[in-house]
């Protein structure tokens, strides 16, 4: 089976799903869903056309009213899961094929998708505007339901009920973070994977036994934060 897409410059692995040789950019999928979605009576933005039809269009596969054949069935399952675990969509009803869009739909990118600018090769590559699209946050579309993910660690670091910092993650350079052996010794235990966001790991982790460890990417205000691949200051 031939690969449908190449990876566009600037595209990150975090939002690209590859199943059975088919590569789908979740940003493009989301924008297409946004272009096809409608507002429900209670103000929610709903996509109810059916993800299989959308993906079939993107990947030039056949789809009808029946259960999709492979590989479309696997692609649909993995894309739906990836969209859910990123907090971009929520199922309106289990197995109903309808999704509520939880993030703002970028109008420019959406327009590009509708006009066919986004995505050569069946729409699975990003246009230039898509490549620079900001990472989505789990923010509801409707202004009356703000649910932006809480990125500020300050509240956590000084959380009520946690006066001794028992709920506080390890801070590099602090006495609490100094172990008898430390992270460097853990590194030497074997061939670890790259650090990656949990949502990405849910797709890319092996179906094998093993051990996983998780760092927190963000630290207190002003502190360098990050572990592994990134070192960012809060707000960057």
């Amino acid at each position: 089976m031939r690969p449908r897409t190449g990876r566009a410059e600037g595209m990150t692995a975090e939002d690209v799903i590859s199943v059975a040789g088919l590569t789908v950019d979740l940003d493009v999928v989301y924008q297409r869903m946004g272009a096809e979605a409608r507002y429900s009576d209670d103000g929610r933005l709903i996509h109810d056309r059916g993800l299989k039809y959308l993906l079939a269009d993107m990947l030039e596969l056949e789809a009808d009213h029946r259960t999709p054949a492979q590989p479309l069935r696997d692609v649909r399952r993995e894309v739906a899961k990836a969209l859910r675990i990123r907090g971009w969509v929520a199922e309106v009803a289990r197995n109903g094929g309808r999704y509520e869009l939880l993030c703002p739909v970028d109008s420019a990118a959406g327009a590009n998708v509708r006009s066919g600018v986004a995505g050569t090769e069946g729409g699975a590559c990003r246009s230039a505007s898509d490549q620079t699209a900001t990472r989505r946050s789990a923010r509801r579309v409707t202004a009356s339901r703000p649910t932006a993910p809480h990125r500020d660690r300050t509240a956590t670091l000084h959380a009520p009920g946690d006066p001794d910092g028992a709920l506080e993650p390890a801070r590099e350079g602090s006495e609490r973070a100094v172990g008898t052996a430390g992270p460097d010794a853990v590194d030497a235990l074997g061939a670890w994977s790259e650090w990656m966001p949990l949502a990405t790991a849910c797709v890319q982790a092996p179906r094998l036994p093993g051990v996983y460890i998780g760092p927190t990417r963000t630290r207190g205000p002003g502190d360098l934060c990050g572990h592994g691949r990134r070192a960012l200051r809060p707000g960057q």
Partner: protein, 115 residues
């Protein structure tokens, strides 16, 4: 590093393929692991965050309360966790690795409740 966990074969049900580490991580993000392991640790911290609780409360006020599993997912989204993994030959080897990681990280502020 804030957490160390182990996943066995997780052989699945019926004809489904073993899920291994992927299955464990996916369970957390689906919200079904909200009362154990990393999911529980993230939820503990979310529940100690007034701003996060206020957001959940606001959803209920406007008539769109989230389900328990969605709370679990949101708690992990809030935690913004990155992970990496090391595969093992079998469950026993993975368990030994987990214990060794926890021993090496003893004294750090791991989220594990029983390191």
């Amino acid at each position: 590093m804030i957490y160390v966990g182990m996943a066995g074969e997780r052989s699945g049900r019926g004809s489904s393929a073993p899920q291994g580490i992927r299955g464990r991580l996916s369970a957390y993000l689906r919200g079904s692991g909200v009362v154990s392991g990393l999911g529980e640790a993230a939820m503990d911290r979310a529940l100690a965050d007034p701003a996060w609780l206020k957001e959940r409360s606001a959803e209920a006020v406007v008539g769109s309360p989230r389900r328990a599993k969605e709370w679990g997912t949101q708690a992990l989204v809030r935690a913004d966790v990155h992970v990496r993994w090391l595969t093992a030959a079998d469950r026993g080897a993975a368990r030994a690795l987990e214990l060794e990681c926890q021993r090496l990280l003893a004294g750090t502020a791991l989220w594990n409740r029983r390191p």
